[in-house]
Amino acid sequence: MTALDYAWAGILAVFQGPELFALFGLPISVTLVMILGGFLLGIAVGATPGMAGPIAMAISLPILISTFGFTPDALLPVMGFLIGIMKGATIGGAVPAILFNTPGTPDAYMTTLDGYPMTQKGEAKKALKVAHFASVTGDTFSDIVLILCAPFLAILVEGYLDLPEKTALLILSLSFIAAAVGGSAAKGLISTGLGLLCVYIGTGQDFYPRLSLGTEALNDGIPLTAAILGVLIIGAVFKELSDTWAADTDRRSAAAMSAQKDQRLRGRDLRRLCPHIARSSLIGTAIGALPGVGSTLAATLGYTIGRARHERRRAADQPAFGDGAIEGVAATEAANSSVSGANLIPVLSLGIPGNTAAIFLILAAESIGGFNPGPSVFRFTTDTVNPELVIAFGLFTCMIVANVLNWTIGGAFMRSMGIMTRIPRQILLPIVLILTLTAIYVQETAMSAVWFTLAFGVLGYAMRVLEISPLPFVIAFILGGRIEQSAREAFSATGGDPFFLFTSPIAAVFMALSIVVIWVAMRRKERR
């Protein structure tokens, strides 16, 4: 099969997969319906303060796996749903930021700076339209870069990197994530170390499960879902709940989407927005391609650079950034949305998850089987069919379908989601908490998994309180086993050379960079 054959097979896998129903005689595949369902759910949870895409993914995953089973046919519908959530939540997050000055996520904070003043001026609907247009444009650009870059990067890795280099690359990625996420390299290293420690408990090659303290509970290791969902979701819900309790509940009254002014997005508006969207899309995509570097940095950079340009060129009657400028909303939304597609470059090409959405795609792939994200996926075999490559192109197709939905129905659905912001957090969060714990139980069918999850939830909460990012923990937990396996194979392949990570120039460079990124991050922090 040629590369084009694989791409076509991926498209067909989405459109001609198992049929759910027929519309005017046209078969509609289950994958398409799942993308739509995930997309609408994603917008709804994104628009709900206190909720976020990862929570919806965590709750959905066990239900999806129960529905579709553990066969390769389940991969595209399940992952399509998760991709739909990812896309929907990205644009949905702008709704509470614009309507209620409530940034649901840190990156949405920059959207409030101009979005909320527009709402106060009676231009809420226009602000939402700008946010949607900028967000979808940035996201689409980012997906195109992903589709073009991920296969080439994977082929480069497979072609030029041997076992020692791959091990060094994994160590470099952990080091980079520790340094880049959360603003403190020291705390990033602690988070990474804790993740590695937890994944090594109860595992290993010896008959005795290491670090299990001789207890039965730790003999089989810590369940992947319990650790990840505990730290990532339960910890976040604990933090949100305690903040809500401390604030004596959020009693903001809903600002109406009043139509006092012209709410239309005209051609001249689009011409003003385009340079900001283009610049922010480039910034967001470049930042998103680096594992672990989040959309907050992209939004901040996009906004700051956009503001500098706007100040130089704006007419006297145009509002400045911070006073309700449509350019401010566009610069932020394009930047933070263009991170999401590019964030999948490291996971698809290197197997290194760069954000929480990628973590859930890996969880889905590991639970279902038949697809291991990483460089080996992009083997363009000509004599036999590589089913993983067909799935990869199927995923790209899912992203394009989600983008088409985003361009067509996303804006209207997003603007109708203002009502979600009226759900009180003190009611929503306890339900989410029980929903997530139930999701873990139905997947693991053991109460011990629930207790593990709660324990990791407390750890996740403590990490947030101490300003330690939980993302390096989760990524280290996922990559820890692979790093050890890769190191074992590299050690054996080099005849037991203890310096196997330093004998090849590429591996040595990766190892040197691992130290340099930590050192540079510390120096920057010291200067600040």
């Binding site: 170390g193 010896d206 709940l241 029980i434 037991g496």
Partner: protein, 187 residues
Amino acid sequence: MNSFGKANLLLGLGVVVLALVLIFVWVPLDTTSGIASQVRRQFVIGDALAPTVAGVFLLVGGAMVLAFERQLSPVQISPGKLGYVLRVCAILAVSFTIMRYAGPLAVWLVNAATDGELVYRQLRGTTPWKQSGYFLGAWFAIAAMISLTDRRVSGRSVLVGALAALGLVVLYDLPFDDLLLPPNGDV
């Protein structure tokens, strides 16, 4: 909210101690092969290496916090919030205990009232037994957490708890025959 200036110092110290205990006590005593071992005349990486590397990450991170971040922007820790999270954990512990024992308890009560010989394990796949523990536990958890956050017990929290628990049962149990609600996988 209190500004707890020593949080970073204590964090750094705690992590360094954990790392040292891990590297010099836990790993050597709780793994059977060393950093490297010889198997059939070949050197292979032992089970102790990876956790030792984890310990090194912790040691370096803890030492860096002590060296560079001890005095930086004190971490904001609110004892009130910590107490709140502990109370939430207690509510969850009680609710999962209710989930675990409410079903068997209901069976025991029915047996006591009717002189029957029902066994929960044999009933855990049938309605209403299989949902009873989960419903009661989830109801309690949601109502209690809403009341705790609202700082008062209200009819609304009890009603929302019941409706939400019912909704969760409908979501997980009705469409899926193969999904087991808590605690039916354990009993």
